[in-house]
């Protein structure tokens, strides 16, 4: 059975690209376009991994992680933060909140995202 990845991201082009890439790699992708939707989806589908953007409308990535910590079920799901900015403050905060890995969009490409995903949950 394919591993389930929840992609929480507001930028449609990024969603399309990642969905395409990760589907090609054999993962099952669900998408949420903001934090609130993201939390709902993860409770619902219980993904194996979450790819989480930080800056989003309604609810950002940090708040999502703060909420996740509170819920036993969600706490266990590994999170890879996809950030636009590489500011150390943000990266540190992400780590503090339990993110397994992080990547800066401009510094990485879809192939590297796949590598990080594989590293976390395998194929």
């Amino acid at each position: 059975m394919a591993k389930k990845i929840l992609l929480v991201e507001d930028e449609q082009l990024m969603i399309d690209l990642l969905k395409r890439k990760l589907t090609q790699e054999g993962y099952e992708i669900s998408v949420a376009k903001d934090g609130i939707e993201g939390l709902e989806k993860m409770r619902e589908i219980k993904p194996d991994l979450i790819l989480l953007d930080i800056v989003m409308p309604r609810m950002g990535g940090f708040e999502v992680m703060e909420e996740m910590i509170k819920e036993e079920e969600l706490k266990k799901i590994p999170v890879i933060v996809i950030s636009n900015s590489g500011q150390p403050v943000e990266l540190d905060r992400a780590k503090q909140l339990g993110a397994k890995d992080w990547l800066i969009k401009t510094d990485f490409d879809p192939q590297e995202v796949v590598e990080k995903v594989v590293k976390q949950i395998g194929r």
Binding site: E11, L13, K21, N84, S85, G86, P110, Q111
Partner: protein, 542 residues
């Protein structure tokens, strides 16, 4: 007389007396000639008596007797005459003797009366007159002496008077000077008073300043609080009178001040220490500066940086947001191109691939530019270094060199690394930034070295510092532009002709990174010969 006065001065050894002189004179005048004439008369009459007594005296004899008697008369008369002359002579002699002596005394007295005291009468006799003369002389001499004394005294007196007059004058002068001095003293006093007033005013002013200072001020004397301004009272929420003269331990009673107490305990007796502390309820961030002022006394400044922190945070957020705004589309382009180039979205022609490859690189440059701008913005924020960790610089250099292997191979540039002879110890650094600095230097060296050139990186260290060197055989930096190398947006004129890419931020960022690590950076360059960049990092950071 002589015996009545036992103190009588012995003037003459053999003293005669006027009395005796007169007596002798009188004797000579009267008694002696009388006796003598009587004797002669008796002698003359002896014959007459003898003859008268004889009975038969012839008449011739009587005649003879008469003649004899006549002779006797003549003789007596003669004697009388002679005695008279003699008496007259003697009288004259005696009276002259006395008159002269007394006259001399009288003359002397006259002279003395006239004021001449140089009189000395010759003593001619050893009698009372002589004595008188002697005493006269003595008196005159005494007089003279006393006058001399008097004169001397007078002279002395005059001198004294003169001296006194001098003194009086001097006193007058000194009086004037005293007056002057008094006035000067008054002036000085006035000045002091003015200065004191000024000082008081100044003190008042300073006190007012301290009192109205927004920053909290505390003065500590050996673990005791000496001074506390109203701002500090407000910030610490304590009253000065509650804690004056009491130990710092008292701060522990105020729950919010535990942090301050710990900071003070830890840092007292150190040179200037600055730290940020967060006080709760309401949450405010204070920059606490501890400054030793004089021995045993420290000044603590509590500066509210809550707002600054907020602004700083807002700025970070703004930068983050801008980055997000700018980078999101760039990321999307990058990822799209990458996936097309990787064939994830189907096959493409070679021509399409070439164009897309170039577009991809352009996009990468754009991303780089934005990243650099963000770095510069952070440098300007002043908090550039983040999270220092112990790391081996050699590993960074090696990884950067590795990342350029392909490019150097393609461009036929030999890239060498002279490793340090001894292992360099780990160093506290911001790894990401250090990586950026080293990458910028090596990248520049490779980029501005033509094909077939050489780039050599070397790393050395002594006990004090690490020295990094990257030497290229590139185009060099024009002499007249060398001082601008580390400024923002600088690009060498020769380099601009050669390659348009580059924002001119790399070396600015690099220098900031090296200096933030306590290091130094410099270079040597000759146009068309090559450039060597050096930097050093201290092994022990102060």
């Amino acid at each position: 007389m002589a015996k009545k006065n036992p103190n009588k001065e012995v003037i003459f050894e053999k003293r005669t007396s006027v009395f005796f002189k007169i007596l002798i004179g009188l004797l000579f005048l009267a008694i002696f000639p009388i006796s003598f004439s009587v004797f002669l008369t008796i002698l003359s009459y002896r014959d007459f008596i003898f003859k008268s007594l004889l009975p038969d005296l012839p008449p011739e004899r009587i005649q003879d007797a008469l003649v004899i008697e006549q002779n006797i008369e003549i003789q007596a008369g003669l004697i009388l005459f002679l005695s008279g002359i003699f008496a007259l002579f003697l009288g004259l002699l005696i009276s002259r003797h006395f008159s002269q002596a007394i006259g001399r005394i009288s003359d002397g007295l006259k002279k003395v009366m006239a004021g001449n005291l140089d009189v000395k009468i010759k003593i001619t006799s050893r009698d009372e007159i002589g004595e008188a003369t002697y005493f006269f002389n003595k008196v005159v001499e005494n007089l003279r002496e006393s006058q001399l004394k008097l004169t001397t005294r007078e002279k002395e007196l005059r001198e004294k008077t003169f001296e006194l007059a001098g003194k009086v004058k001097a006193l007058e002068i000194s009086g004037k000077e005293t007056e002057k001095a008094r006035l000067a003293a008054l002036n000085i006093l006035e000045d002091i008073e003015t200065a004191r007033t000024e000082l008081k005013r100044e003190k008042g002013r300073i006190e007012k300043i301290i009192l109205s200072l927004v920053d909290g001020l505390l003065v500590l004397q050996d673990n005791e609080i000496l001074l506390l301004n109203p701002s500090a009272e407000e910030i610490l929420r304590i009253k000065g009178e509650e804690i004056f003269g009491k130990s710092l331990d008292l701060l522990l009673q105020y729950p919010n001040l535990k942090i301050l107490y710990q900071f003070l305990k830890k840092n007292i007796k150190k040179p200037i220490v600055r730290e940020e502390l967060v006080f709760k309820k309401p949450e405010r961030t204070f920059q606490i500066t501890l400054i030793p002022i004089i021995k045993g006394q420290d000044l603590v400044v509590l500066h509210d940086v809550t707002r600054e922190k907020l602004i700083e945070q807002m700025k970070t957020e703004f930068v983050s947001l801008s980055a997000h705004q700018l980078r999101t589309p760039l990321s999307a382009i990058k990822w799209t191109l990458r996936m097309i180039l990787d064939g994830d979205l189907g096959k493409i022609t070679k021509e399409q691939r070439d164009f897309l490859q170039k577009t991809y690189l352009s996009n990468e440059r754009m991303i780089d530019l934005i990243n650099n701008l963000l770095n510069v913005a952070r440098i300007e924020e002043g908090r550039y270094l983040y999270k220092l960790s112990l790391y081996r610089i050699e590993d960074i250099v090696q990884s950067v060199i590795n990342s350029y292997k392909e490019e150097t191979k393609r461009r036929k540039i030999s890239l060498g690394f002279r490793k340090p002879k001894e292992k360099i110890p780990k160093l506290k650094m911001d790894v990401e930034k250090m990586n950026l600095a080293i990458q910028n230097l090596i990248d520049n060296a490779i980029r501005y070295t033509p094909s077939g050139g050489e780039v050599t990186v070397s790393l050395e260290s002594d006990k004090k510092e690490i020295e990094f060197e990257v030497k290229d055989s590139g185009v060099g930096i024009p002499q007249n532009q060398q001082e601008r190398v580390f400024s923002r947006f600088f690009r060498g004129a020769n380099v601009m002709r050669m390659e348009t890419e580059g924002a001119g931020l790399g070396l600015f960022i690099t220098r900031n990174i090296i200096e933030a690590h306590g290091g130094k950076i410099w270079f040597e360059s000759k146009e068309n010969k090559g450039t060597t960049f050096y930097f050093t990092l201290p092994l022990k950071r102060t």
